[in-house]
Symmetry: D2
Subunit: 349 residues, 4 copies
């Protein structure tokens, strides 16, 4: 073991000296700061619905939606303890709303998506319009839009509804750009009938005076029925990618781009017996299994998955899929952020 050379001592003394002026020597940290390739601290992980559904339901007994504001169990990446993050820039949680409950109205600069896992009939309201939730629907509550959730009472046919929340909370925190407000009432007024926004923008048409692109999608609910139909049609027509199966991204119809500026969302179909090839990219991705079962190979690990499971693929980790039965996967990632900053890389292996 080498003893400290004079040069080394001299440097140490210098480092102490400059530290008093809030300075540090780049050459000691350059390799870590500018690494040859990404080494994410986040880990691949899975949350199996069979193991956590009861825990989610128990939260219903433990705390009311009103008291919780949002009754959510956060899926915390084991590589990022205490961070309430599933990837360095993304948050994931499972939210439960019981019949007769309201999750009170608020807004925040964080963008949010909801992917409905189980139950039907609850609603989300966004800036005055409500949409009814059904399993597989993808719903957005964009940055700084008032939003609240509710569920009809048991008498009105309400049933417990669970969905996956995806937000850009860690990203917004890292940029010191979070603002939030509560609405003065539990629910905002309903000013437009359900289906209004979809009728305006959902049919490859747009109101004649609406020419400016919207930064977020004016369609805030993308029904599973139509997404599933698109995937089925393409599969029947022979579209099948060796890496992705049949994979579509959700679109903001006023731009052709992403529904929100910080999160991309996807839905893909894997036929029974599909053995996909591996790919990797710099966007970290959260998956939610909609239908089917199979195995996700992430880095060196294999995760068997079944319907409603949630798993996460960190940045630059190779991932490939093996589907036992016909499977459908929803996913979201920070791809728009990487693309906007010219930092998106992808490799098909």
């Amino acid at each position: 073991m080498p003893t400290a050379t004079p040069a080394r001592e001299q440097r140490a003394a210098y480092y102490e000296l400059i530290a008093q002026r809030q300075l540090s020597p780049l050459w000691e940290s350059l390799h870590n700061l500018v690494p040859p390739q990404p080494k994410p601290r986040a880990k691949a992980a899975i949350w199996r619905y069979a193991q956590i559904r009861d825990l989610v339901m128990q939260a219903g007994a433990l705390i009311s939606a009103q008291e919780a504001v949002r009754r959510v169990l956060v899926l915390e990446n084991p590589g990022l303890p205490g961070k309430s993050s599933i990837t360095p820039s993304l948050y994931a949680g499972l939210q439960l709303i019981l019949p007769g409950e309201i999750a009170p109205s608020h807004r925040h600069t964080q963008s949010a998506l909801r992917f409905i896992v189980e139950g039907r009939g609850a609603w989300t309201a966004v800036d005055g319009e409500r949409t009814t939730m059904r399993p597989g629907d993808f719903i957005i509550t964009p940055s700084w839009t008032w939003h609240d959730h509710g569920n009809p009472s048991v008498d009105e046919g309400g049933e417990p509804v669970i969905w996956l929340d995806g937000l850009d909370i860690p990203l917004v925190a890292s940029l010191d750009a979070g603002f939030a407000e509560s609405y003065p009432e539990a629910t905002q007024p309903v000013t437009r009938p359900e289906g209004y926004s979809f009728a305006r923008f959902g049919h490859n048409m747009a109101p004649v005076r609406e020419l400016a692109p919207h930064p977020t999608s004016p369609i805030f609910s993308y029904p599973y029925e139509r997404s599933r139909e698109a995937l089925d049609t393409l599969y029947r027509h022979g579209e099948l990618d060796a890496w992705d199966g049949v994979k579509l991204r959700y679109v903001n119809p006023t731009t052709g781009g992403w529904p929100m500026p910080t999160m991309a969302t996807f839905m893909q179909y894997l036929p029974a017996g599909f053995e996909g090839r591996a790919r990797r990219s710099t966007d970290a991705t959260v998956y939610c299994v909609v239908e089917g079962h199979g195995t996700a190979y992430i880095g060196g690990d294999a995760f068997s998955f079944a319907a409603h499971d949630v798993f996460v693929v960190p940045a630059w980790q190779p991932v490939r899929f093996s589907a036992v039965g016909e499977s459908v996967l929803f996913s979201y990632s920070d791809r728009p952020v990487l693309a906007a900053l010219n930092l998106l890389r992808e490799e098909r292996l």
Copy 2:
């Protein structure tokens, strides 16, 4: 009557002199060249389907689709005689295809739209994919795409089909930018099943690797069923503009802009009894009545209209609509050209 003054004679002599050098005095023509406001030579006009349908059908006996290449009666603006134009930049024609016929494959730099007026079951093929025509469908064959049309034989259930062709032929001619080619066979090969493009782009989703905007819409058929549903929903939800009724524009889902760079297309719903206010704009517009009847007031003229009629509103002419019965109007104009060149003006009167 004043006699020629010396100055006037001097000027006339000068004008003759400079004419030999291909020069002319701007000050004699400035007011005409740079007018205070548009004075279109095109006139408002209507083609009543009841009066021309038989003529269209007679063309079927007179010439085959094969010989005609396109069996079309051109709707020629009475203010633009001999120009084969309905407005200075647009062309309109009614095309007939009989059971068992083929309109042979070609491509050209002119952009074309087809709006189906009568009959069902014929098809248009665009770059390897066919789409079946039904009344009210809006179909595009963008610039430089191979396209052919066909109709099943009577035995296969074919019936005569008539549609409105809209093209930018005069515009492309005025820019000396027309190119065309015939396909070596009557029909191009079918390489993709019907519905393929719509499944890829029609459901507010897009293939995951398709990120670049397409200059023309990848959806080449916009079915009436969906357009009508969108209009109905909005009307039921109380959307009603005092000028336009309920009016939507067709969209290229990869950009949120127009389906093709030279022609905008619209569909609007006027409830029974609607008495619209007048508007005018610098885009000249061709209308095709889909359903209903009423009156179009254009400049100082009134044109009663019924289903399948075609009428034209020249640039900057005020137009307003009165609907006797619930009416649906399809329309197309050169608005994208005016918008791209920063020449679009609109007034709501």
Copy 3:
């Protein structure tokens, strides 16, 4: 000579019949309407400054700038007689302003460019800011901006100034989109000092709150000194294209695109002895020789050129240059129109 067959007679009768309904048979005109390639009516032509300068100066004696509003000799294409056009979409004229004169203020939707040919010290004012003209400067007066021109008196050092006007008059006329207004006074008030706009946008910087792209360049004068320096530097650095020599386009610094939406402008340097290769494109182009002399080969014709000559290359005509002495050419075309409408084609031969 064949007599009319029954079919021919039958068709003729049919054509007469349908003409009464403003209908015409497409199949008789299809080939002309949709030609295999462009056949412009405009012809290649040159206006030699040595032959027309005196005529321009004579106009100064014939009519005042005040009376003429714009004292301009229009360069009329011999293939487009009576059209006041140099190409189907463009206008060119030589404007003279004498010491002490004012060309009164007005605005119009037509876009205009000024390329200074001879003389210095006159000014153009655009929306409250004046710029002084020097030979080789490129100045714009975009659509609907107030603009007037003036020249100091002889006592103040004024001298006759001649420039080339380039406008999109024929294009705007063909779209029925021309509007114009006179300013109530001969000159508009000067509200900003000379150089203000250039300081804000000319140095690859922009005011911190100016983020939105401007549809037209906020720099309205591009001095020759800087354009020439850029060309020289590139030539010294070995940049030399076999077709174009060293060729730059003028840029709107807020977008990176064209200075105005209807006309592209270029300046190119041809070293002494340059023998360029031929190219052609669908934009028709007007050239003004800034320095040097040589020959332009356009289609089958050869035009020797010298400083201040103006010549025109119709759409799709091959053009190549031979430079005897070191030459600089300014040019403008309707390329942005063709590009915006997806109709631009170019071939390097």
Copy 4:
């Protein structure tokens, strides 16, 4: 002091239970995760050049540029200890290069800017072209471009040169998107003469075939001489904002946007005696004083500044400037990131 209630105990037990499944209760952390407004951990701070210049020069004796790869003292925010960050997303360092030294060639996905503080004659090479450094020049080495720095020997007139490095290292780290490579030689080959890129894009012109926007500015050196001239001209012309003085942003001339996608850069002029009003925004900003002296009031603190000092304003902290002498400030921030993600807010107080 309340004892644990049964409910509290029950909840604690539940929290332990779910933690085993990598779940945590959102309702305990919601307020922190979605705060009402930003509370940055970064602090306002200043590095006074008079106090650190000697330390920078000492580094020259301590380690060679070759060994250090980059001989830089990192300016570490006192609120972000151990993070090598000046703001949550930005890095700042002072780099020294001595006569005769080379900082070897490499590339990385991190974007970098260099603002020259002291000394002249060193060079930066970017993708084959070198540019000579002079105080006040702003130079970029965009993401994934090969770059090296060098300094002529003393015999060739070299002198020590110090510049401020600004990079997006923390941002790229937080996104797990860092890649880097060393060039096989100390310096990359020079393939283009100095000034080439500027001649192509620096004069509000562009090569005729360059139409596509560049994601980063093709001008990689913005000379102080021209920036200063623009500011001077505007100040002489009466442009003076009550908050910013005269403030320009650097521009990518192919887009009108930022020179690089992750960092905005600005230069502003404050006349002697200027007492600015306060503003705040969600982009955190690093300032480098080019000329003059005065005081920056940041949040509740006052920092007197003089030439070459560097100070940092965290996100959402109010800042205002008081200039004793005529002052020029360079600054950079993560504004493009916030703007791209729709998270930019600004208040003028």
